[in-house]
C-alpha cells in the first residue's frame, strides 16, 4: 500500500517539476531575444541598445572568462543557449572545425568586404572552403615599459633577459610568452606559423630560454588589472601586455610606453560567430552585420580600446585616437603582428609552460 502511495507521490512530484520546467521554457521563448556569450565590453548598452530598438528584440549577454570558458560551455552541450559568440584566434579554429559554429552566408553581411583584407585573409576561421566567423576587434601583445627606466623604447624582447632587470620583468601567464621566447630563438623565420607548430627539440630550447628568464621575472601576470598594478607599484619595469593596459596606465598618468620590438610580436583577433545550434540565425546575421559597421566599431573601440576590424571606423575618430589605435597605418602595424593560430599540440605547449612555472 505505502509503496504504491510513494510511487504516486514521486510521479506527482516529477510531473510538477516537468510542468514547471516547460512553463519556464515557454515563457522564455515568447520574447524574441538574442543571446550572446562574448568578452566583456562586447555587449555594452552604448551600441547594443540601438540594435535592440531597430529589431524589436532583447539582447542578453553572458560574459566569458576566457577562451577556454567559452570552449567548455559550447562543448558542454549548452551551445543551444547562445546565438552569437566571440572566440579569440586561439580557439576560433577548433570551434569551427568541431562544427560548433554555423558556416556563414557572406552575402547576408554587406559590410564584410569593408573589413581589413588582411584579417579576412587569415586561415583561422576557414574550413572546407567555408567561412565561420567575421573579424571583429584585434590587438597585439606589445612590450610595455616604464619610461622613467627606459628613455628610449627597447628595441628587442632581449632586454627581458638583461641581468640589469633582475626581478623587474613580468610576462603573461599564457602561451604568448612561449611564442615570444620562440621568436627570440628565431623560430618564426621564415614562416611565422611555425610558432604554433614547434617541434619537441624547439620546445625544449624554448623551455631553456624561458628558464634563463626566470631570475628576472617578478611575477607572471594573469589578469589585466594585475599587470597595471605591477607597474603602478613599481614591482616591474617592463612586461608583455595589451594595448588596453597602456590606455589604462596612461589614464592613470603612469609613465608607460608601448612598443613592438624588432622581433615582432604575436596578437589576437576576436571573431564573431553564429552557433550551429542558434534558433535565431536571421537575427544573429543582422547582429553580425550591425557589429561590423564602421560606426558601431567606433563605439566598441570607445569601450574597449581595441583596434576595430573595420578600418572605416577611423573616419569617426580624431587623429590622436587613430594614432593610438594604429589606424593611421594599419597595414604597416599588422605586418609586425603574428596573429594567434590554432596550436595542434596545445597540451604539449601547456605542459612545457607549466614545467617552466614549476621550475624552482
Amino acid at each position: 500500500m505505502s509503496g504504491k502511495r510513494t510511487k504516486r507521490g514521486i510521479l506527482v512530484f516529477a510531473g510538477a517539476v516537468v510542468a514547471t520546467a516547460i512553463l519556464l521554457c515557454s515563457c522564455q521563448k515568447k520574447e524574441v531575444s538574442l543571446s550572446l556569450l562574448v568578452w566583456e565590453g562586447y555587449a555594452d548598452p552604448s551600441f547594443v541598445r540601438a540594435f535592440e530598438e531597430a529589431h524589436h528584440c532583447k539582447v542578453s549577454a553572458s560574459y566569458m572568462g576566457s577562451s577556454d570558458d567559452l570552449v567548455a560551455k559550447l562543448r558542454g552541450g549548452s551551445a543551444g543557449n547562445y546565438d552569437v559568440i566571440s572566440p579569440s584566434s586561439d580557439v576560433a579554429a577548433s570551434i569551427a572545425q568541431a562544427g560548433l559554429a554555423e558556416p556563414l552566408d557572406l552575402s547576408k553581411l554587406p559590410t564584410y568586404p569593408q573589413l581589413s583584407p588582411r584579417l579576412r585573409g587569415l586561415p583561422l576561421v576557414k574550413a572546407n572552403g567555408q567561412t565561420f566567423g567575421v573579424p571583429f576587434m584585434w590587438g597585439p601583445n606589445p612590450l610595455l615599459y616604464d619610461t622613467t627606466v627606459f628613455s628610449q623604447p627597447p628595441d628587442s624582447w632581449g632586454i627581458f633577459w638583461d641581468s640589469k632587470y633582475k626581478e623587474k620583468i613580468s610576462v603573461w601567464d599564457d602561451l604568448s610568452t612561449l611564442y615570444m621566447a620562440a621568436q627570440m630563438l628565431g623560430y618564426d623565420k621564415p614562416d611565422p606559423s611555425q610558432l604554433y607548430n614547434l617541434s619537441d627539440e624547439q620546445l625544449a630550447a624554448v623551455k631553456q630560454k624561458l628558464l634563463a628568464l626566470k631570475p628576472n621575472i617578478r611575477k607572471i601576470w594573469s589578469t589585466g588589472g594585475e599587470l597595471t598594478n605591477l607597474f603602478e607599484n613599481h614591482e616591474v619595469v617592463a612586461a608583455m601586455g595589451w594595448p588596453l593596459m597602456t590606455n589604462q596606465l596612461r589614464q592613470a598618468n603612469f609613465p608607460i610606453g608601448e612598443t613592438i620590438p624588432r622581433e615582432n610580436t604575436t596578437g589576437w583577433i576576436d571573431h564573431l560567430m553564429i552557433t550551429k545550434a542558434s534558433p535565431n540565425k536571421e537575427l544573429a546575421y543582422q547582429f553580425l552585420e550591425y557589429m561590423t559597421q564602421a560606426q558601431t566599431q567606433k563605439k566598441v573601440t570607445d569601450v574597449t580600446h581595441y583596434t576595430p576590424a573595420n578600418p572605416g571606423a577611423a573616419q569617426y575618430m580624431t587623429d590622436a585616437e587613430k594614432k593610438g589605435l594604429h589606424l593611421d597605418d594599419p597595414d604597416a602595424y599588422m605586418q609586425r603582428i603574428y596573429f594567434w593560430q590554432d596550436v595542434p599540440r596545445r597540451a604539449k605547449y601547456i605542459e612545457i609552460w607549466n614545467e617552466v612555472k614549476a621550475a624552482p
Binding site: T6, N233, E235, A347
Partner: protein
C-alpha cells in the same frame, strides 16, 4: 513508527542532492581520468595513459610534493599561531574572551581576494613593510622576497587558515572540564606540567581537526600563488586549473584530481581514526 512512504519522501531530497552534486560529479571526474583528448575533443577511450603521464613527467610529482611541503608549512605555522591564541583565550582571557573571539572570526567574513590584495599592499616593493624598513634604515632597497615569493604564499595561506585551525582547537579546549585543570594543579602540577599532561592530550582531537583543515585546504588552493606567489610558486591546483582551462585537457586534469582526492580521503581517514582514538569523553 513512520510509514515507509514518509521515510522515502523525507530521505529523497538529500539523496538526490548527494547523488547530483556529489556522487555524479565524482563519477564523472573518475571516468574522465581514464579518457583521452584527441584533436581537441574528449574521446571515451578507456585507458591509464593519463596516470602514466603523471608518473612519467616529474613535473606533476614535483609540484605535488612542493604543494604538500607548503601545506605542511602552513599547517605548522597556523598551529603555532592558533594554539597559543586558543589556549590563552580559553584559559586566561577572562572577560576579553568574547571580544577576542570576534576578532579572530571577523577576517573569515572578508573576501579571500580582498585579503590577498591587502597582503600585496603590505608586502610590495612600495608596500607598508618595505616603506617602514627603509624609514627606520634597516634596509636601503626594497626587499623583494616579501611579495611574489613562496614566503608570501605561506604567509597569506597561514593568515587565511589560522582561524580554521583556531576554531576546532578553541572548541576542544573549551570542552576540557575546568575541574581537570584544577585537579592537576591540586595534585601539584604547575601550568607547564598541566598543559603537557592534561590540556595538550585532551585537545589533540581539535588540534588534529584544525591541522587537517589547514593541510587539506592548502592542498587545494590555487588563488594564493596567483595573487602573491612568485614565478616559481605554482601549486598542484594551478596545474589542474590550467589543464581544465587553457589546455582543455580535462582527462589529465581529472587524473590529477583523482590522485589529490585519494590523498585527501586517506588523510581524512587517518585523522578520523586518530581522532577517535584520542576522543575520551
Amino acid at each position: 513508527m513512520y510509514s515507509r512512504a514518509y521515510k522515502t519522501i523525507v530521505s529523497l531530497p538529500p539523496l538526490v542532492w548527494i547523488g547530483m552534486f556529489l556522487l555524479l560529479p565524482y563519477a564523472l571526474m573518475f571516468a574522465h581520468s581514464f579518457w583521452l583528448v584527441r584533436n581537441g575533443m574528449i574521446v571515451h577511450h578507456w585507458g591509464l595513459r593519463n596516470y602514466a603521464t603523471l608518473f612519467q613527467n616529474p613535473l606533476y610529482a614535483e609540484v605535488l610534493f612542493r604543494t604538500m611541503r607548503i601545506a605542511a608549512g602552513v599547517t605548522l605555522l597556523s598551529l603555532l599561531l592558533g594554539y597559543p591564541l586558543a589556549y590563552y583565550m580559553s584559559f586566561h582571557a577572562g572577560a576579553r574572551k568574547d571580544l577576542l573571539y570576534q576578532l579572530v572570526i571577523v577576517p573569515l567574513w572578508v573576501s579571500y581576494l580582498v585579503r590577498g590584495y591587502a597582503w600585496k599592499t603590505i608586502l610590495g616593493s612600495d608596500g607598508v613593510l618595505n616603506g617602514f624598513l627603509q624609514y627606520i634604515h634597516i634596509t636601503k632597497e626594497p626587499v623583494s622576497f616579501f611579495l611574489y615569493s613562496p614566503f608570501a604564499v605561506i604567509l597569506m595561506l597561514t593568515h587565511i587558515y589560522t582561524p580554521f585551525v583556531f576554531l576546532p582547537l578553541y572548541a576542544s579546549l573549551e570542552h576540557i572540564p575546568r575541574n581537570l585543570v584544577e585537579a592537576s594543579h591540586d595534585l601539584g602540577a604547575g601550568w607547564r606540567a598541566t598543559f603537557l599532561r592534561v590540556i595538550l592530550p585532551l585537545s589533540l582531537p581539535g588540534l588534529l581537526a584544525g591541522a587537517t583543515f589547514a593541510f587539506v585546504l592548502t592542498l587545494g588552493d590555487f588563488l594564493a600563488p596567483l595573487l602573491v606567489g612568485g614565478p616559481s610558486s605554482i601549486m598542484i591546483a594551478n596545474i589542474v586549473q590550467s589543464l581544465f582551462g587553457t589546455a582543455y585537457d580535462w582527462p589529465l586534469g581529472a587524473s590529477i584530481s583523482v590522485c589529490i582526492l585519494l590523498l585527501t580521503i586517506s588523510l581524512l581517514f587517518l585523522t578520523e581514526q586518530l581522532e577517535k582514538k584520542w576522543a575520551y569523553q
